[in-house]
Amino acid sequence: MTRSRGESQKLSARCSDDCASAQQDGESTRHLLEIEDLRVTFEVGAASYKAVDGVSFAVDDGEAVGLVGESGAGKSVTARSILGLSEPRHLAGGAIRYRGTDLVPLGESAWQRLRGREIALIPQNALAALNPLFTVGWQIAELYRVHDGASRSEARRRGVVLMEQVGIPAAEKRFDSYPHEFSGGMRQRVVIAMAVALNPALVIADEPTTALDVTTEAQVMDLLGELRRERRMALIHITHDVELIASSVDRMIVMYAGRIVEAGPADDLYHHPAHPYTRALLESRPSLGDRRKGLLPTIPGAPPKISDIPSGCAFHPRCAHVRERCETETPVLRAGTLGRISACHYSEEVLRLGEVRTSESLAASLARIDEDA
C-alpha cells in the first residue's frame, strides 16, 4: 500500500506533545497501551456503582486484543475510558498509559489531539455515528482538513483514496452521497475509514459487526484484518461473540461484572479455558457442524446488575465449580498452570476438564467435509 502524504507528517506528530518525554526513554519493551487498576464508578444519589473494578491489561504495537463480555461486563466503559470519553469524576482510580504517558490527567484539548491520530474508535452503530446532514465524503475529508490542515481539494483526493481502500465501490461518486444512501455494510466501511484516516497506532472497535448480517460481517472482519496488517495498527476488538474473534485476535480478555476473569492467547483460551465462566460461555453456544441435537449446556441465572454484584467471586451464584470460599473471597487474577491467567480459585480444576466440546466436534466435522472433497 502506498503511504499517504500525511504519514510522515503524522509520524513526527505522534511523538510530539505529551508523549515526548516518554519517547526519549527509547525502551523497546514498553507497551503501546498499558491500563493499570482502572476503576470507573457511577454515583447515583448516595449509591455508587462499580462499572469497571480494577482492570489491568496491556496492548503492544500491532497487536490485536479481543475484549469479550456480556452486557454490563464493563467492556464498553473500559473502551470509553481509553478514549478519554469517561467523565473525569467517574474515574475512581487507575492509570491509562499510552506509550508510557498517563492519559488520565490530560485535559480535553490534549485528548482531542490524541483521538483519531493516536487512538481511534470504530463505533457499533454507524448510522448514529455519522452526521445525516453532511455527505459521507465531507465527513471523511474533514479529518484531513482539521488535523492535517489539508486544503479542500487535497482532502477530497485523500478521502476518495481512503474510501477505495476500505472497499467502497465508485468512491469518487459515493463521496458526495449522504449516510442514508449507504447500506449498513457500506456505512460500517465509512466509519472504519474515518477511524483509520489519520493512521492511528491503536484502534478500538466496539462491536463493529454486531448490527450486520453474517456475509457483511465476514467482509468487514476481512477488511479490519487487512487494514491492521497494512498499517500495523494495534486493535482492541470489543464483542460478546467469542467465536467471531477467536481466529482474528492474538489475545483475548474476558470480562465479567466489571473485572477481568481470564486473559490469554486466543487459541489457548478458546480451546482450553481456565475460568468456569469462559468455559460455560463457550459450551452454551450451539456450533455449526455439531450434530448433537440435545439440550445445550447452560449457565443458570443472568449476568449481575451493576447495582447488585455478588460478594466474593461475582460469578459464584452461576458457577458449576462453586465452593464456600468463592462466596467470601474475591479471586485475584493470577498466573496458574500452563501460564494461563485466570481469576478463579479453582482454575486448575477447570483446565483439567480438557478441550471444550464445540471445537472438537467442529474440527471433526470440518475434517469430514475435507474428506468428502
Binding site: S183, D222, P286, S287, S359
Partner: protein, 354 residues
C-alpha cells in the same frame, strides 16, 4: 407428500409492498417484492428454520401467516382452512392455534401491566379457554412451565431481565395451547449466556406438547441446532430447503454455501486460510427491481446466460430431501476451488449487475 396431512401448507405466498412514488405527480409507484412465491409445509410437532439475511423477507413471511401483514397472493392451509381466506372472526380461532414470539422482549410486553395481566391477556379473545376464577392459578402454572416463580405474578416488566421477559412472552404464547409457534429471532436480543436457556426451554416445550415451530433467525448455528428442516431465503424466495444437518453439512446452493462460509468459526483458523473462504461480492439488488431469472445471479460466481433467462425451480437436485433452486447446484467440493471461482466468474459472457 407425507400420507398424513401437514399442519400447515403454505403455497405460493406473495407479498408486495407499495414503494416510493416517482414520475409526474408521483403517478408511478414502485413495488417492493418482499416475499415472492414461497411454498412449504410443516407437520405437527416439526420445527422449520427460516434463515436469511435482513431484507430477505423472512419476517414478512412469518407475519403474513398470522395476517399481521395481509398477503398479496397465495394460500396458507392450516389443517383444512385457508388462513388467507378467513374472515376476521374465523381468524381469531386460528390465532389461538398459531402464536408468535417476537425478537425484542422489552417492546413486546406492555410496561404498565403486571406479569399476570400480560399472560392472562392471551385469554381476552377466547374467554372459554380459562374460566375467570382459575386464571391466576393457570398463570402460575404457565410461569412455572417457562421457569419463573409465582412471585413474578404481581411484578412489572421493568423488574425483569431480557431473558426473563422472553420467558414471559413464551408463557403468554402458551396460554392458549397453540399447535404452532412462530418465533421471530427469539434469542437475538439476549445475552449469550441466556440464549442457551431460552433455546432449551423452547426445545423442551416442543417435545412435551408436540408443538410445531417456525424458527426464524439469521444465526445458522442456532437454527441448525434447534430445527428439523431449514429453508434458506434470499431476496424473497426460498433458495434451498432440506433436512437441517444435511443442508448444513452439504449445502448445494451457492448462496447457502456463501452463508455457511461466512459464519465465524474459530476452529477453522488452522484448517482454512482466509482466502479459501467464499466471500460474497456486492450487495442485495434493489427490491423494487429484482433481477431476471435467478435472483442471486448478480452476486453468484457460477452465473451463466441460463441464470438470466430462466428462474431455477426448487428441486431435489443433489441429495434426496434437500431442495435447491440453482441450475448449477452441486455439493460443496473444495473451499479453495470455490473461492477461486468466486473471484473469477465462470463466464465472461454475462454482465453482472451494477
Amino acid at each position: 407428500m407425507a400420507p398424513a396431512e401437514p399442519l400447515l401448507r403454505v403455497s405460493n405466498v406473495v407479498k408486495h409492498f407499495q414503494g416510493k412514488r416517482s414520475g409526474l405527480l408521483g403517478r408511478n409507484r414502485s413495488v417492493i417484492h418482499a416475499v415472492d412465491d414461497v411454498s412449504f409445509e410443516i407437520d405437527a410437532g416439526e420445527t422449520l428454520g427460516i434463515v436469511g439475511e435482513s431484507g430477505c423477507g423472512k419476517s414478512t413471511l412469518a407475519r403474513t401467516l398470522v395476517r399481521l401483514v395481509e398477503p398479496t397472493a397465495g394460500q396458507a392451509w392450516y389443517v383444512d382452512r385457508d388462513i388467507f381466506a378467513l374472515s376476521r372472526k374465523d381468524l381469531r380461532a386460528i390465532r389461538r392455534d398459531i402464536q408468535m414470539i417476537f425478537q425484542d422482549p422489552y417492546s413486546s410486553v406492555n410496561p404498565r401491566m403486571t406479569v399476570e395481566a400480560i399472560v392472562a391477556e392471551a385469554w381476552d379473545g377466547v374467554p372459554e379457554a380459562a374460566p375467570k376464577r382459575s386464571r391466576r392459578s393457570r398463570v402460575v402454572e404457565l410461569l412455572q412451565r417457562v421457569g419463573l416463580d409465582a412471585d413474578a405474578l404481581d411484578r412489572y416488566p421493568r423488574e425483569f431481565s431480557g431473558g426473563q421477559l422472553q420467558r414471559i412472552g413464551i408463557a403468554r404464547a402458551l396460554a392458549v395451547d397453540p399447535r404452532l409457534l412462530i418465533c421471530d429471532e427469539p434469542v437475538s436480543a439476549l445475552d449469550v449466556s441466556i440464549q442457551a436457556q431460552v433455546l432449551n426451554l423452547l426445545k423442551q416445550l416442543q417435545r412435551d406438547s408436540n408443538l410445531a415451530c417456525i424458527f426464524i433467525s439469521h444465526d445458522l448455528a442456532v437454527v441448525q441446532h434447534v430445527t428439523d428442516r431449514i429453508a434458506v431465503m434470499y431476496f424473497g424466495k426460498i433458495v434451498e430447503l432440506g433436512e437441517a444437518t444435511a443442508l448444513c453439512a452439504n449445502p448445494s446452493h451457492p448462496y447457502t454455501q456463501a452463508l455457511l462460509s461466512a459464519v465465524p468459526v474459530a476452529a477453522r483458523r488452522r484448517d482454512v486460510e482466509p482466502d479459501r473462504r467464499i466471500r460474497l461480492q456486492g450487495e442485495l439488488p434493489d427490491p423494487s427491481d429484482p433481477p431476471s431469472g435467478c435472483r442471486f445471479r448478480t452476486r453468484c460466481w457460477k452465473v451463466e446466460q441460463r441464470c438470466l433467462d430462466e428462474e431455477p425451480a426448487l428441486l431435489d437436485r443433489v441429495q434426496a430431501g434437500v431442495f435447491s433452486a440453482c441450475h448449477f447446484a452441486e455439493p460443496l467440493v473444495d473451499a479453495a476451488e470455490m473461492a477461486a471461482m468466486a473471484t473469477q466468474p465462470r463466464s465472461s459472457r454475462t454482465q453482472t449487475g451494477p
